[in-house]
Amino acid sequence: MTPFDKLLEFLVAGWRVDVAILAKLGVWLFLLLYLGFSLVVVRQVRLMSRTVTGFLEKELEVLGWALVLLAVAVFIFSLFIL
């Protein structure tokens, strides 16, 4: 058994934690990280646009914010659906 399998077995048997709860926590962690990533993308697009301004800066920033909104929406959706 790998160390991760041992940890899972300990959590499930020792603390009686349901695997489903662990999976939900994993999904929520992923979605929170994704939200953080989308905020970093918005900031970096703004920095990049300051370096070179040209054609699509506003559109890319709008897309960045749309990604942030999508991440928030999916996170809220997951709270209800899971």
Partner: protein
């Protein structure tokens, strides 16, 4: 008093004191200028500005990598779009509940959107700018790492371009390499369209710099 003799006017030769047509003026006359937002070869892009641009510095050429170099991630993204359809044939996620499967598919498409967006902005903001004074390479290796390098046209000694292979020859893209006298000895512009035209413009800019030195209009 009337003139006794009027010498016929000789055609003016290019040289000291005569009017000199700049590269920007020459390429701007009657040629297709500027381009659309996704263009990889933009001659005289009027709307573009960059961070360290000086007040009177004019951008002659804006280059990006040829679209063919981006094909790998585009094809990957297209395949990723259709991967969830495989689940209808091969029940890989059957151990999850219906809601769990829905969440898994949503997460897959979130990853896909992030991948496509990151790859696109990495290509879009990786530009080579040729101004009437300098050559600048703006490179975003990823979202968090930026490199801006430049070379003065004055310092460029040799310019060569390389276009090897069937695809590059057919689609007319290649690398332009410059030897400079500055701190950075070699300067490369990779996978750009029409490298021959790029070299032509650089050579003309070099001549313009030499002319400016002669007439004492060095910036």
């Amino acid at each position: 008093m009337t003139d006794i003799f009027v010498a016929p006017s000789k055609p003016k030769q290019a040289g000291l004191g005569s009017s000199y047509e700049t590269v920007a003026a020459r390429w701007g006359k009657g040629k297709k200028r500027g381009s659309h937002a996704f263009s990889a070869f933009c001659l005289l892009p009027g709307k573009v500005r960059f961070e360290t641009q000086e007040k009177h510095e004019k951008i002659i050429l804006l280059l990006r990598q040829h679209w063919f170099t981006q094909l790998k991630w585009i094809i990957t993204a297209v395949i990723m779009v259709f991967v969830p359809l495989i689940l209808t044939l091969i029940p890989l996620l059957d151990f999850l509940s219906d809601r769990g499967q829905l969440m898994a598919i949503i997460m897959w498409y979130l990853l896909l959107i992030a991948f496509v967006y990151e790859q696109f902005i990495s290509w879009y903001f990786h530009v080579f700018i040729i101004t009437d004074e300098r050559v600048i390479d703006v490179n975003f290796y990823n979202l968090l790492y930026k490199e801006v390098s430049g070379a003065k046209i004055d310092n460029i000694e040799d310019i060569t371009y390389r276009q090897g292979g069937v695809i590059r020859a057919l689609l007319n893209f290649g690398d332009v390499n410059m030897q400079t006298a500055g701190e950075k000895r070699e300067f490369a512009i990779e996978d750009v369209p029409s490298p021959g035209r790029v070299v032509q413009i650089l050579n003309e800019l070099k001549l313009e710099e030499e002319h400016e030195k002669i007439i004492g209009r060095v910036r």
